[in-house]
């Protein structure tokens, strides 16, 4: 067996085993739930009453039930939609960079990213149609109500979808066929239309969480208010950033996949670079996500204390511990990729000594970030603690500590990137020592300030404490912007200490890219579940109750199982996308050559 294929084989076996275990667990929990729910789950309401469009509220999906069926299809649709919306954003930026500096490799890279789009677009549309049909069939009353509220938004949605298809295919098939400016304009059009589509769809789903623009009877009063509901804009912003992070990570995984299968040095160098750029895009967007997420959570709390508590303090609070573990892992993996990547930069070994300190900072922040407020403890343990809060760790379980931890993790990741960027460069400007000193001072002051605000948060009322997150975020952004600005000038005519040996990155860094892509996807599935599950027994919060047999919040284990299965289905589809995208680079099939090979084989056999 080819030694390089061994990790692939091992990972495939592990994934298959995990898939088997997960499916088994989900099926077991599902059987248990059916048992607990008793005969209700079997008794489809439409079995007794003759079915008419006006009387049917729900229909039952066989085996897995309506909720799980809708859940999986909606999640898959969202994942593909996120990918299709995100890739054009950074493909356009990369193409623009290539257009400005004239370097063809940027153009080639942008095209490589775009190649992933056309098949993904078809998957998105198919899954979207499937979701719509399933909503109409399985949840007719809810669908009818939402259509009644948002009827006029469906026309622009469909028209924009047409426009997106037009822009996407002309952008992809028109590569190199139009003048660069026209092509860039097509890319811009694709991005604008894609974003507009997402904004419209976001209005429907955010209305379900924070309905507005209706009277007490649930009838439409103002469609604009229904669209511009309380969580619409926070979700729009959050999704744009999350889509870019997610899309970047999938594109980086594609680079890693191609890198590991590459046979020439040139290919390896190209896909190493592609993985790096995809990861850079993903991490850049990811660093801003905690801020956007915090804003969204704050708006949910502002809309309804009940929803806010369900989200962060009640039913879903344990899910946020899983989220914290996943995010901590993302930070670890992102930094790991950068540190391992530095092995292919001659001159970067001088920064190796900092790795352990950066890792220690991330590990400590990870521990703080993942510490629950109330701990899982036996009766004896709880008694010795004097409750479910530990006297020392209890303070780490609240947002003051967590905001501080995540801000420091962001800065640490940024420092790793800064060291990576400086890897083989030596500044030539006379003020480099002063520049370094200023940069160091900025970090020191900002980190102290962030910690100070975190501690100060324990001594003020909650509203003030929530408000303190803003200066924390702004100071971190200030540090990143100002240090980058200094660095750009300081390294303008830098002396190169060595080569950047693209293609000579250790394979384990590529597995870190796979890990990042899978973790981003899993996290996206989990947080999608929280956003929808937050409504609990409401279809439209406070307006339309969920009276189906599924109107209960599933256990965390069951939800995690469904998300895991969905992620595995998504990656199976993505593998198909990768394979199809790879076909365009293959040599044409030649009939003569095939005949030659066949006749050669026949001759040998004879």
């Amino acid at each position: 067996m080819d030694r390089r294929k061994l990790p692939f084989t091992i990972i495939t076996i592990v994934v298959l085993v995990l898939l088997g275990i997960t499916v088994q667990n989900v099926m077991n929990s599902w059987s248990l739930e059916r048992e607990l729910m008793g005969p209700n789950i079997e008794a489809a309401p439409d079995a007794v009453t003759p079915e008419t469009p006006h009387t049917t509220e729900y229909r039952t999906f066989p085996k897995i039930g309506s909720r799980v069926a809708i859940w999986i299809v909606a999640q898959l649709h969202l994942m593909f939609a996120a990918f299709v919306l995100a890739v054009p954003m950074f493909a356009l930026i990369i193409e623009y960079i290539g257009y400005r500096n004239g370097d063809k490799k940027y153009d080639k890279l942008a095209y490589e990213f775009t190649k992933l789009l056309s098949v993904s677009f078809s998957f998105t549309a198919t899954l979207g149609a499937m979701l719509t049909f399933m909503l109409m069939i399985l949840y007719p009353k809810l669908t009818n109500y939402l259509i009644g509220i948002f009827s006029w938004t469906f026309f622009p949605y469909v028209l924009l979808f047409f426009a997106e298809a037009g822009f996407l295919y002309s952008y992809y098939y028109g590569w190199g066929k139009f003048s660069p400016k026209v092509h860039l304009a097509l890319g811009l059009g694709l991005n604008i239309v894609g974003t507009a589509i997402m904004f419209i769809a976001n209005a429907w789903l955010t209305f379900m969480n924070s309905p507005a623009g209706i009277n007490e009877a649930g009838q439409l009063v103002s469609m604009w208010d229904a669209i511009n509901n309380f969580t619409w804009m926070p979700i729009n912003i959050h999704r744009i950033l999350a889509n870019v992070a997610f899309g970047g990570s999938i594109a980086a995984a594609y680079g890693a996949f191609k890198f590991l299968g590459a046979t020439t040095e040139e290919e390896r160098a190209h896909y190493d670079w592609m993985g790096y750029i995809g990861n850079f895009v993903a991490i850049s967007a990811f660093l801003t996500l905690p801020f956007a997420g915090y804003w969204l959570a704050k708006e949910i709390y502002a809309y309804s204390q009940s929803l806010g508590i369900v989200l962060m303090g009640g039913t879903f609070s344990w899910l946020f511990i899983i989220q914290a573990v996943l995010i901590g892992n993302l930070f670890l993996a992102a930094n790991y990729y950068l540190w391992v990547s530095m092995e292919r930069i001659d001159g970067a070994e001088r920064f190796k000594k900092f790795t352990k300190y950066l890792l220690a900072a991330i590990a400590v922040c990870f521990l703080v970030w993942a510490t629950p407020h109330s701990l899982v403890a036996s009766v004896e343990e709880a008694r010795s603690m004097g409750g479910s809060h530990h006297p020392m760790l209890g303070v780490l379980g609240v947002m003051s500590a967590k905001n501080t931890a995540v801000n420091i993790m962001i800065l640490t990741t940024y420092i790793s990137f800064l060291l990576y960027r400086r890897g083989n460069k030596e500044p030539t400007v006379s003020w480099s020592r002063t520049g370094n000193l200023i940069q160091f001072s900025i970090f020191a002051v900002v980190i102290s300030f962030v910690i100070f605000l975190g501690v100060y948060g324990y001594f003020v009322d909650t509203a003030t404490r929530v408000g303190l997150s803003v200066p924390q975020v702004l100071s971190v952004l200030f540090a990143m912007v100002s240090v980058t600005a200094i660095d750009v000038f300081m390294y303008k005519n830098a002396k190169f200490k060595g080569e950047m040996r693209w293609g000579q990155i250790p394979a384990r860094a590529q597995y870190a890219l796979f890990f990042l892509a899978i973790t981003f996807t899993w996290l996206m599935g989990l947080m999608g579940y929280v956003r929808a599950g937050l409504r609990q027994h409401w279809h439209v919060y406070g307006v339309m109750r969920d009276t189906s047999v599924d109107a209960f919040t599933p256990t965390l284990g069951f939800a995690a199982g469904v998300v895991s299965v969905t992620v595995m289905i998504f990656f199976t589809f993505i593998a198909i996308v990768f394979w199809l995208a790879g076909l365009t680079g293959k040599k044409d099939w030649e009939e003569d050559k095939q005949l030659e090979t066949s006749s050669g084989l026949l001759a040998e056999e004879a």
Partner: protein
């Protein structure tokens, strides 16, 4: 004298010093490879977490922390190609080089012994109640019915809170009434200093909430407290089970005004401000 009883800032000083001294000694007197060094860190941190904190951490937390620490140490071990190669070489030598035969033998005996010991201690433990990931703040409904009157938990405020600004004397009367209500009804569980340590407190699992804790009433709006006091444990939401609480439904014993007053008193006594309603945009 129990040396392990010396505590400073909630930490057991002696085990922590012993672990640090051990790590320093390893650094100074032994030329350990990265793998052995990582193992030493792992053991040292485990000992610190399990013995270095005065109020012991629950096993679930030690497990989670050690998981994160293991991950971080593995990241360190594999970040550098040199360290990784050296570790791989060492592993191969450990299993093949006769120099390491005694150590290998010890390892092969020790590993199953540890597993056996773990199984033995697990099997011989006294039966214990299962542990749950309990959430402290159950999600409130949007409104409740209190003696036939609808209370809107989303939009309603404490009707007497405004008196603090407009009529301080009337407000003081509400605080005084709240004090009376508290010391007649709540003190037995929540304690005379509101620390959740009343004379009945330790008969309950979980023990009653401490209002002095900055993560209880300071994080909540007054309407939330009204709901919890009025409906008590019987009014906890079904979807948030398992819930265990001994809190009575005080709507059966107190008037609406009494409940709002005792809420005011809780905040006045502890010095916390109720969570303000955020501005809607």
């Amino acid at each position: 004298m129990d040396l392990f009883g010396i505590s400073f800032l909630g930490l057991n000083v002696v085990p922590i010093i012993l672990v640090i001294a051990g790590l320093v000694a390893l650094r100074m007197f032994f030329n350990l490879n990265t793998l052995a060094w990582m193992a030493a860190w792992w053991v040292g941190l485990y000992l610190m977490l399990s013995n270095g904190i005065t109020v012991p951490l629950p096993g679930s937390i030690v497990g989670m922390f050690m998981g994160i620490i293991t991950l971080a140490l593995l990241v360190y071990l594999t970040t550098s190609g040199e360290d990784l190669e050296a570790t791989k070489d060492f592993m191969v030598k450990f299993f093949t080089d006769s120099r390491y035969s005694p150590a290998l033998l010890a390892f092969l005996v020790l590993l199953p012994s540890l597993v056996a010991y773990n199984v033995y201690t697990g099997m011989t433990q006294q039966p214990q109640a299962p542990v749950f990931g309990r959430t402290i703040h159950p999600p409130p409904p949007t409104d409740i019915t209190f003696k036939g009157k609808k209370i809107d938990l989303v939009n309603d405020d404490n009707p007497y809170r405004i008196l603090k600004e407009t009529d301080p004397d009337a407000f003081a009367a509400h605080v005084a009434n709240g004090r009376k209500v508290y010391y007649q009804n709540c003190v037995n569980c929540h304690g005379d200093d509101m620390g959740g340590n009343g004379m009945f407190a330790h008969a309950f699992d979980p023990i009653p909430a401490s209002f002095k804790d900055p993560t209880t009433i300071a994080m909540l709006q007054e309407s939330y407290l009204f709901w919890r006091i009025a409906k008590g444990a019987p009014g906890l939401p079904d979807e948030s089970t398992p819930w265990s609480s001994a809190m009575p439904a005080w709507e059966k014993f107190l008037s609406e005004e009494d409940i709002w007053d005792v809420i005011i008193f809780l905040y006045e006594y502890t010095g916390y401000e109720p969570r303000a309603k955020e501005e809607l945009h």
